[in-house]
């Protein structure tokens, strides 16, 4: 495996950065990890709080099977060891957003053990080839509530809606060696979580956040002392944290200092980190097995059900797009990055294949182009996606797979030329109108009327006698010019095949 060449230049030579990430991902489920309370984002403060979440006297936690199922599915998606026997531990500390005075987590016996994910080669980002990043474990734990300091001049308010919501903590090995690799890891992990449906991956809503462990060393030496920057909530900030923290550590070490193991905070406004607390005054969490809960024992059939419920995952999809559909690695990578669009693409290929009666591999390139060039181009130009309709799975306010498939059929059948295709796409992209109806309504059908085309050609050849002479003198590249002129004269409606044929004849 080619190692990353990312280095931090120091006065004493080049330094290598070593990165491990602990990603906290909020589990998609109707109810919290140990109570029946709802989990929807953005609800009125303290409107989704059960007696258990508020830690009223005598209340007891009962594990929510759906949360466990989602964590197991996530583990299976990263090919991890699923521990059939796991246990919940209490992590004890006092804080106003932690009603029980402890968080129920899993220290000693996590639900998911060793696994891995592959980050994709990205030459431009300095990732020369695919790289496997080890994942040490995934454990399940409760989220805390939220403190609000801006509601009252002298008091803080507590919102317990998030208290008790299930989180997966996904702990990587210290296998990453550059900010780009860490960014790619978070993006890939987020993609997998979204494919699996175990986390919505919305970092801006806080449903995915990372603790970033960074150390530096001279290449080939032992690991240095690491710092942990908490709760970084975007891919960009993860990368910025690493850049800043690596540079800072190199500067400290080169000026004769020592890195202290500590917890740090990232400031998104300045792009810097600052010390929160050092190991010396770190909490003693007094972890011990939660006596309110029995060990979690999974049956083989439960695990198998979880396995069977998994969709095709991004790596498998990518391979299929290249090997079966004949797409390029680049196209496949782009198409599989977001699960919603990957599903859109699969459906588009299927519908187009039905519409045209052609094999998927024959029309896949057109489908890929529709998505990557036209739809993504449209989105870039006219604004962000409104997401997918929850019921139909089709994009809201944007061309459906039915429209797309028909559009491609019109091209395949020679009814639409390239320029007409573009025109029709842009006209119907944000409407529910079917392409064939639009073509009909505007009389956009391309013509194979040889009389009309011949007349146009005759005029063009007459107007460009010099070029005709050059062409006949051997400058064959000019053929394209004549095609273009003819198409223009025909207002794009001419059948390019017929134009070619007639032009060749006319130019003799």
């Amino acid at each position: 495996m080619t190692e990353s060449t990312y280095r931090i230049a120091g006065a004493t030579g080049d330094w290598e950065v070593v990165i491990g990430l602990e990603v906290h991902a909020q589990v998609v489920s109707q109810a919290k990890l140990f109570s029946g309370a709802a989990t929807a984002f953005g609800a009125e403060p303290n409107s989704q709080v059960s007696l258990v979440d508020a830690a009223m006297p005598g209340m007891l936690p009962v594990p929510n099977k759906e949360c466990i199922r989602q964590a197991v599915r996530t583990g299976l998606a990263i090919n991890a060891q699923i521990n059939k026997w796991s246990r919940f531990d209490r992590k004890n500390y006092f804080y106003a957003d932690l009603p029980q005075g402890y968080q129920i987590s899993q220290l000693y016996h996590p639900l998911v053990g060793e696994g891995a994910l592959t980050i994709d080669a990205d030459e431009k980002a300095g990732i020369p080839e695919d790289k496997v990043i080890g994942i040490e474990r995934i454990h399940v734990e409760q989220d805390a509530g939220k403190l609000m300091h801006d509601q009252h001049p002298t008091r803080s308010y507590v919102d317990l809606n998030r208290s008790g919501v299930a989180l997966m903590e996904i702990v990587s090995r210290p296998d990453m060696r550059s900010p780009a690799e860490a960014g790619a890891y978070v993006r890939k992990l987020r993609a997998i979580l979204r494919y699996v449906g175990s986390c919505d991956g919305n970092m801006e809503e806080g449903s995915m956040r990372a603790d970033v462990n960074v150390s530096v060393r001279k290449p080939g030496e032992e690991f240095g002392t690491r710092t942990e920057t908490k709760n970084v909530n975007s891919v960009r900030f993860v990368m910025a944290t690493i850049e800043y923290e690596a540079r800072r550590q190199v500067d400290v070490l080169e000026s004769g200092g020592r890195i202290v193991q500590e917890t740090r905070l990232f400031n998104p406004d300045t792009g810097t980190t600052r010390s929160m607390r050092s190991k010396e005054d770190a909490h003693d969490y007094r972890y011990f097995p939660d006596p309110d809960l029995l060990p979690l024992e999974l049956t083989d059939s439960f695990i198998e059900d979880c396995r069977h419920s998994l969709p095709e995952l991004p790596d498998a999809k990518r391979r299929r797009y290249v090997e079966i559909l004949g797409l390029t690695a680049y196209q496949a990578g782009e198409l599989t990055a977001e699960v919603d669009w990957a599903i859109y693409f699969d459906r588009l290929v299927e519908r187009t294949s039905l519409e045209t009666g052609k094999e998927a591999s024959e029309i896949a390139k057109r489908c890929a182009n529709l998505l990557l060039n036209d739809i993504f181009g449209y989105l870039n130009k006219f604004g962000v996606s409104q997401g997918m309709d929850a019921v139909t799975g089709e994009p809201v306010g944007l061309i459906s797979t039915a429209q797309g498939a028909q559009l491609i059929r019109l091209v395949e059948q020679g009814i639409l030329s390239g320029p007409l295709y573009k025109q029709v796409f842009e006209a119907i992209a944000a409407t529910p109108e079917m392409p064939a109806d639009y073509v009909e309504r505007h009389g956009l059908k391309q013509t194979s009327d040889t009389g009309a085309i011949d007349a146009a050609i005759a005029k063009i050849l007459a107007d460009n006698e010099d070029k005709v002479a050059q062409y006949k003198g051997g400058k064959e590249a000019l053929f394209g010019f004549f095609v273009g002129q003819t198409m223009k004269a025909m207002q794009g409606k001419a059948n390019p095949g017929v134009v070619n044929e007639l032009l060749k004849k006319a130019l003799g």
């Binding site: 005598g58 209490r90 106003a96 005075g101 003693d284 006596p291 309110d292």
Partner: protein
């Protein structure tokens, strides 16, 4: 008609059914006794209206022919059970004035069965104590007094045992025919023994812990206290049952323990654990134990010696595990959401925690939180907590092996009769030693009960403890019944209050 408050649960139930008296008469009689017994301090809150309402319903149900298992029976509720709309304190200043919006599973089952509530019974604060002296609301006093003859100061107020001391005192003084208790390390059995009544801690998981203020989750178990074995069986049937809201609840049908009662011990083997025959065992305790052996033999049982070799480590292990869990369970009392809040001028969050917990918890609770925090601390965890869990496993194995040779085990409940209030408050270890015979069954999660065995030379009750295999409450109750029938324990505290 004899005094209604002298009747047992079964007698009240049956007499009420037979039309001998109304439920209202019963409730009024007990309400009157409660009201007249303030000196015992057995109740934190009296709820005569609750008892009367249930009685009114019972009288209607009798007329309508829709009687429930406990129709007409008023009971006492240990103030560790959350009761909807009725203050629930765990006898702590921390929860003074706290009124739950919810009903514990066990109390809800009892009300559903037709029982009424006479009041919330006093206890050791957060169920931590063996004498009821740790209650924020003042100690309960036992109705019992030593016999004056021996010149030992017969009028010294005695401990009713703990932590369910309000329950034991109230039953012994005829303030209620039965009550709920909870047992973490003997808190049902030891107070029952001290006051000459019966009480059973069922197998861990039989009774839901939902809505019971937690002390040590892996040990806490609710159970009934009453005047005799039959009443314990009746009460337990109406307290036990699977509860999906408690992950440690046993998903098993509740046996008909009352119908299964039999004092015939023929073909049964009773194990006598040799390790409990400790050097310096109180002579009265030893005498009553021997009597118990004789009674069971008389009932047809074969007596066998069994060994519980790790018994001597039970108490130290218990005093690591229980405080460890308590230190975490009691972290929720922080002044943020309910209960006491102490907010000194200019205090920050940490100051509020410190002030609230300093003011809200009593000394024994603080002691156990500190012990528990210590044994779970980094660097000490393996030496204490992990080691104690290993001991716990070994103790459970001891019992499992013993039950290969016997059906039940017979032992003393406590190492002495009731002591005087104040006797042991200065020495926590002496107090803890009171649980030495009770704690092993708690650590193993086994059903165990105490029944009266006789009187000490001071004229105070002594209890006999029967420990059974997991899920076999019936064997425990039956052996208890065999002893009860032969012990002929009729002594009762002479009314002085």
């Amino acid at each position: 008609m004899s005094d209604l408050t002298d009747l047992t649960v079964a007698q009240i139930r049956d007499g009420f059914r037979a039309g001998d008296f109304s439920a209202r008469e019963v409730a009024e009689a007990f309400n009157a006794n409660v009201a007249a017994a303030k000196a015992l301090n057995a109740f934190i809150v009296e709820t005569p209206e609750h008892a009367l309402a249930a009685a009114g319903q019972a009288d209607k149900d009798r007329a309508a022919g829709t009687l429930k298992p406990l129709s007409g029976v008023p009971i006492g509720m240990k103030d560790l059970f959350c009761t909807q709309g009725v203050q629930t304190t765990a006898a702590s200043h921390m929860l003074e004035g706290f009124t739950p919006t919810y009903e514990s599973t066990v109390s809800a089952k009892l009300w559903d069965a037709g029982a009424g509530m006479l009041g919330k019974l006093n206890l050791d604060q957060f169920a931590m104590g063996s004498s009821n002296e740790t209650s924020y609301f003042g100690n309960v006093i036992s109705p019992w007094r030593r016999a004056d003859a021996n010149g030992l100061g017969g009028n010294a107020p005695l401990a009713p045992g703990g932590s369910s001391g309000g329950s034991s005192s109230a039953i012994a003084a005829r303030l209620c025919p039965a009550a709920t208790g909870t047992d973490t390390g003997g808190s049902i059995r030891q107070p029952a023994a001290f006051t000459g009544i019966s009480g059973i801690k069922p197998t861990y998981g039989r009774c839901s812990r939902w809505g019971i203020i937690a002390f040590a989750s892996s040990l806490d178990q609710a159970g009934p206290m009453a005047r005799d074995v039959r009443d314990c069986a009746i009460m337990l049937e109406n307290m036990a049952g699977f509860d999906p809201k408690d992950s440690t609840s046993l998903d098993m049908a509740v046996p008909q323990w009352e119908a299964g009662l039999s004092a015939d011990m023929k073909g049964k083997k009773v194990g006598i654990p040799k390790e409990y025959r400790v050097e310096g065992l109180d002579a009265d305790v030893a005498r009553v134990w021997d009597a118990g052996i004789a009674w069971l033999k008389d009932a047809g049982a074969e007596i066998v010696e069994v060994s519980l070799p790790h018994s001597k480590y039970a108490l130290p292990a218990y005093y690591i595990i229980a405080p460890a869990e308590a230190s975490s369970n009691l972290a929720r009392y922080d002044g943020v959401r309910y209960g006491l809040r102490e907010l000194p001028e200019g205090a920050n969050l940490q100051d509020m925690y410190a002030a609230t917990r300093a003011a809200g918890f009593g000394a024994e609770v603080k002691r156990r939180i500190i012990i528990g925090t210590y044994v779970l601390s980094a660097g000490f965890y393996d030496a204490y907590y992990t080691q104690a869990q290993k001991v716990r496993t070994l103790i459970a194995r001891d019992f499992a092996q013993a039950f290969e040779q016997c059906d039940v085990i017979l032992a003393p409940t406590a190492p002495s009769a009731a002591f005087a209030l104040g006797d042991k408050t200065a020495d926590p270890l002496a107090m803890y030693l009171n649980d030495v015979f009770a704690v092993p069954a708690s650590l193993a999660g086994l059903p165990a009960m105490s029944v009266p065995g006789g009187l000490s030379k001071d004229g105070l009750p002594l209890g006999l403890q029967i420990i059974g295999p997991a899920f076999d409450e019936q064997a425990v109750l039956n052996a208890g019944l065999a002893i009860e029938e032969r012990a002929g324990f009729t002594a009762r505290a002479e009314k002085w209050w």
